[in-house]
């Protein structure tokens, strides 16, 4: 599997070429370089997957973990060292496929979406950088390599969110994204440090005896690592950066903030799963509760958003929380006995990447058409954008959990896992799933149905109320629709992949079987959600919606403002850290510490001034001092010494 190195190398080379020489290249060439390299990477990834899974299981019934490359990058002390390498195991191979697929789609899509933008080359450079880092993250052979690439994806995310660097919101959003995740990474780092010290290695397969003897430290370390993962995966209350991150170009949102980077947290937990389940099941369950709460919170907030990308963002948060819950509800490594969640989570990760990527790309097409994110500028678009409409609908159905679309299968596994963990969790998550269906279709209806903004405007124009003729929404160019269609196809069929054969919590093959009760109930709930949404949002100015809105106005407003989490964070950062700590420290430094140093100088100056009278110019006082000096010295020497 030595060729896998080129999976990493190609995006990097592409990045370097574009970054160093990009500005001199024409747009098409630049985009071409990026896309071509990604296409090769995608092909290689598929080849890898085929070869890897095709090679079959080893004697122990597991897919072997292959490490084609592993070099010591930085030795640290006698035992510890940071390695850089490539490790192939089921989940990393799966992630390779996900990343390269979505990334390739996004690369192609961006040709159309970013056409003519200033900084087109830069954009592709950053995409390549991101892809490189993300791939590096998933194939990491050890936790520190993961951290290294973890930071790199963070920074590429920062750069891409701030792509429109003249936009105030984009700058703020990129900053926020980076700092929040960085804050979480701090815990990740400390977790790694604990882990490294007690496990004596950074690798994922530490010496069991060492771990066992470490006691409470390992759960703590894992918990800290999870906080890092929660930051990247936008778990409550570290989710605040993700909605804002939508300021970046939409394809970027699709790639980074829906399909790949945000699931890094899930991937991290999955990666550390054997240790979690062995040494820190309590932590795992805590993750489940956090995930459950996040899922609900995000779903509720999603119901109240008007910006379509925000809706998708909260939907992403909610869906990732599903994956977290799935991991968290695992009680053993055996998929048959409470270990199902692991597989479910990975499965959902896979399918979610596809349909959420699709949703975002679709949303991108819509935004491309109407030049706005706000739903008030949309409505009735199904006539104008048929391809987008259909693919979007498929994605919505997938996420809502309607068979036979992929989301149904993966979500069903999650719910099954939840029920097996505890019925309450199951019911709760089912409820959230229903809510998911509701808000997705709310979105769907608002965009594609209802009163067309364009038509209203057109009328106004014709009446002469407005001077400018509105742009007619138009279907996206082929570069954009092709990825939509491809992803829609994947979303349709991905559910039928026998996922459990490849990935499961203990590595042995696991046959996915639908739990009829769960499936039926979840389908029912989903349909109910869809119907409610259709009832309320299909037509404008529905009376029910108005009465609901009036009755729960406060709640809706609160949900719209994401329950004021951002304000809370803002308060902490601006008021407490900036104004409450940093300013006073700066003041303290300038006036107290520096002031003290200056005081030494001024004091000696002042003292120097005050003693000048001794040098009065009078020879007699000089001699008086002289004699006094003599006498005092003599007295001291004679009587005191």
């Amino acid at each position: 599997m030595e060729f896998t190195i080129s999976i990493l190398a190609l995006p990097l080379i592409s990045f370097l070429i574009l970054a160093l020489a990009g500005m001199k290249l024409p747009h098409k060439v630049a985009g071409g370089i990026g896309t071509a390299s990604l296409a090769i990477v995608a092909i290689l990834s598929y080849v890898t997957a085929i070869q890897y899974f095709g090679a079959g299981r080893g004697a122990d019934g597991l897919f072997p973990t292959i490490t084609p490359y592993n070099v010591t990058w930085l030795p640290l002390g006698e035992t510890l060292h940071i390695d850089m390498g490539i490790m192939l195991d089921p989940i990393s191979v799966m992630m390779l496929i996900v990343i390269s697929t979505v990334s390739l789609m996004v690369h192609i899509y961006s040709f159309g979406y970013m056409k003519g933008e200033k900084g087109f080359q830069r954009y592709y450079a950053f995409l390549s950088l991101f892809t490189f880092s993300m791939l590096g993250l998933v194939v990491a052979t050890n936790i520190f390599q993961m951290y290294v690439f973890w930071e790199l994806v963070g920074v590429s995310s920062y750069l891409l969110i701030g792509f429109y660097y003249t936009k105030k919101e984009a700058i703020a959003a990129s900053k926020k994204a980076f700092i929040v995740t960085r804050f979480a990474d701090l815990f990740f780092l400390v977790g790694i440090l604990f882990y490294g010290y007690y496990a004596g290695t950074f690798s994922f397969t530490p010496d069991v005896r060492l771990l066992a003897s470490a006691g409470i430290v390992i759960p703590v370390a894992l918990g800290l690592m999870f906080i890092g993962g929660a930051g990247k995966s936008a778990m409550f209350p570290l989710h605040i950066w993700l909605p804002d991150a939508m300021e970046g170009p939409t394809p970027v949102s699709a790639l980074i903030h829906a399909a790949t980077m945000v699931v890094a947290g899930v991937y991290l937990v999955a990666r550390m799963f054997p240790i979690f389940i062995e040494y820190a099941p309590e932590v795992l369950h805590t993750i489940a509760y956090i995930g459950a709460f996040t899922a609900l919170y995000a779903a509720v907030v999603a119901c109240a958003q008007t910006d379509i990308k925000r809706v998708l963002a909260f939907s992403t948060i909610s869906q990732i929380a599903f994956m977290m819950v799935a991991l968290g509800v695992c009680t053993s490594a055996d998929p048959h006995e409470g270990g199902l969640g692991y597989m479910a989570s990975m499965f959902h990760l896979f399918t979610h990447a596809m349909f959420k990527g699709l949703l975002f790309l679709g949303a991108g097409a819509i935004i491309h058409a109407v030049h706005s994110n706000e739903r008030s500028f949309m409505g009735g678009l199904r006539k104008y954008m048929p391809v987008t409409h259909i693919t979007f609908l498929i994605a919505c159905l997938a996420i809502a959990g309607i068979p036979p679309f992929s989301g149904f299968f993966s979500k069903d596994e999650i719910l099954t896992a939840c029920y097996s963990y505890s019925p309450i969790m199951g019911v709760f998550m089912s409820g959230v799933a229903a809510l998911t269906a509701f808000y997705m279709f709310r979105l769907y209806y608002m965009i594609f149905w209802g009163k067309s903004y364009y038509e209203t405007e057109l009328k106004k124009y014709q009446k002469g109320e407005i001077a400018e003729k509105p742009h007619a929404p138009h279907e996206a160019p082929w570069t954009m629709t092709t990825p939509l269609i491809l992803l829609a196809l994947v979303s349709c069929i991905a559910g039928f992949i026998p996922f459990g054969k490849f990935i499961s919590s203990n590595g042995h093959a696991y046959e996915i079987h639908l739990n009829a009760a769960v499936a039926i109930s979840s389908i029912t709930l989903a349909v109910a959600g869809i119907l409610t949404a259709a009832f309320i949002y299909r037509k404008d100015s529905n009376r029910v919606i108005l009465s609901v809105k009036v009755q729960s106005k406060k709640f809706i407003i609160a949900a719209y403002h994401r329950f004021y989490m951002d304000e809370l964070w803002l308060f902490v950062t601006k008021r407490i850290i900036f104004k409450g700590i940093s300013r006073p420290i700066a003041w303290f430094d300038k006036h107290i510490i520096d002031g003290f140093m200056d005081l030494l100088a001024t004091a000696s100056q002042a003292f120097s001034y005050s003693i000048r009278r001794f040098q009065s110019g009078n020879i007699q006082s000089y001699c008086i001092w002289f004699l006094h000096g003599v006498i005092i010295l003599a007295l001291i020497l004679i009587f005191l010494v």
Binding site: S604, Q605, I636, L637, I638, V641
Partner: protein, 475 residues
């Protein structure tokens, strides 16, 4: 009546001979011959320096222990003479100015007599001879301080100097009288055995110390220094600050280790106190000064404090550190005073720090020399001052006075501050009308170059110090 012994005192005799030659020349030379006065004097003095140097490697004990010299003393005499040569070279312009030119002869004779006084003072092993030497070194100096007799400042400085000098020598004599009264002798050698640290002797020691402290200008016996330096002709201030001070410091050390050795714990306390006071108070005063000569006065008080660090251990390495310090200090201080002197010729009045503003623009070389000299005074490597300071600190530290060293070190920072103020004035402070570009006299330039060489090379070329260390002596 073994008068042949006089012939052994070759440096003194040679100096006296020059004294006579100059005196006679002054009487007879008229017209253009007076133009040659300065060069001839310089040549004679250089010749004399050579004689001193060649005579320095001899140990002589004549007049039954009244006069003693060895290589260290010989070298010190050479150093002092060399310094005087540099000083006379710098004085060229001043000596030829209209007010002074007819007094040239007196200047030289007085200067040489003070130098002779210092020779005697250094070599004396008897308090009477020492006292005469000291008076010989200071009374003509009073006349030199008041040399510009129609300048009010000079007159005032002269009277301050002579009165405080008289007062001090009286105080010191009083101390010597008690020493005599308690030990019964005035010979150093005999006196040591009589020193037993009785209170009266401690009192005498203090009085004696005060007298020496006056010459070296240690706080609180320093008060005359600033006024005198400021008022006196620059050459004389320069002479006072280096040659006179160096000789006195060395004498103090020899007397302390030769005579007062049994009372070491007492005089170490005195030195401790005086060093701390000198360095600190002088630094505090110096911060505020704007008149450069006055400023240099306080600087020299502070430097005297550092010299005392070498004395305090009373050991051999202290002695070598002291002599080396004096040597380096002569070069650096003479350079500074030489520059003040040349600038003074442009400003026609006392030089203040503001006069130096932006001097670099017009006189870069002079400024550079001044900077280096100031750095050397402040103890900045790689200039010689750094080495001399380091050796002094080492000797004091070795003697166990590490808190004292610490205080002195902290004070180097303050001293750096005020030296840098001048550097700042010369380089940084903007000035629309800096002193225009000028050329100093040939002689003064020679002297400056020698000073520069001294400042730069003395530290790096270790043989000078090693040689001094080889011949130095201690308790």
């Amino acid at each position: 009546m073994n008068y042949i012994q006089f012939l052994e005192m070759r440096p003194e005799i040679s100096l006296l001979a020059i004294f006579v030659i100059i005196f006679t020349y002054d009487l007879i030379a008229r017209g253009k011959w007076r133009h040659y006065f300065h060069p001839i004097t310089c040549l004679l003095l250089m010749l004399h320096t050579g004689i001193c140097m060649s005579e320095s490697y001899r140990e002589i004990d004549i007049f039954s222990g009244m006069y003693y010299t060895n290589s260290m003393i010989g070298i010190l005499k050479t150093i002092l003479t060399g310094g005087t040569v540099l000083l006379v070279l710098q004085a060229n312009k001043w000596l030829r100015s209209a007010n002074t030119t007819h007094k040239q002869g007196e200047f030289y004779t007085l200067l040489l007599s003070t130098l002779l006084g210092m020779y005697i003072m250094i070599s004396a092993r008897h308090f009477l001879l020492f006292f005469i030497g000291m008076e010989l070194a200071s009374l003509p100096l009073a006349c030199l301080v008041a040399f510009d007799k129609y300048r009010h400042h000079s007159a005032e400085a002269g009277v301050k100097y002579i009165l405080s000098s008289m007062f001090t020598s009286a105080v010191m004599l009083y101390g010597i009288s008690f020493l005599y009264g308690t030990t019964g002798t005035l010979y150093f050698q005999e006196m040591t055995s009589g020193i037993d640290g009785s209170p009266l002797q401690i009192f005498a020691l203090t009085l004696f110390f005060a007298g020496m402290g006056f010459k070296i200008s240690l706080v609180p016996f320093h008060m005359w220094t600033a006024d005198t330096y400021q008022g006196a002709p620059t050459v004389v201030s320069s002479y006072l600050s280096v040659i006179s001070k160096g000789a006195a410091a060395f004498t103090l050390m020899t007397i302390l280790i030769k005579v007062f050795a049994p009372m070491i714990e007492y005089w170490q306390i005195i030195l401790y106190a005086l060093t701390v006071l000198s360095i600190t108070i002088a630094n505090l005063f110096a911060i505020r000064q704007t008149d450069l000569k006055r400023f240099m006065a306080f600087s020299s008080i502070s430097q005297a404090g550092y010299i005392m660090l070498a004395v305090i251990g009373g050991a051999k390495d202290g002695m070598s550190a002291l002599v080396f310090y004096v040597l380096v200090y002569i070069f650096a201080n003479l350079a500074v005073f030489g520059i003040i002197e040349t600038i003074e010729h442009q400003t026609r009045s006392n030089v203040s720090r503001d006069d130096c503003n932006a001097l670099y623009k017009t006189n870069p070389r002079l400024t550079l020399l001044m900077t280096l000299a100031l750095f050397s005074l402040a103890g900045i490597p790689p200039f010689a001052g750094f080495f001399s300071k380091f050796f002094v600190f080492m000797s004091a530290f070795k003697a166990g006075f590490w808190i004292l060293v610490f205080i002195a070190l902290i004070n180097t920072v303050i001293s750096l501050y005020y030296y840098l103020l001048i550097v700042k004035a010369m380089y940084i402070t903007p000035n629309e009308t800096p002193i225009p570009t000028f050329n100093s006299s040939k002689y003064s330039r020679i002297s400056c170059v020698i000073c520069l060489a001294g400042i730069v090379l003395l530290g790096i070329c270790s043989f000078v110090f090693e040689e001094i260390d080889r011949i130095s002596f201690g308790m």
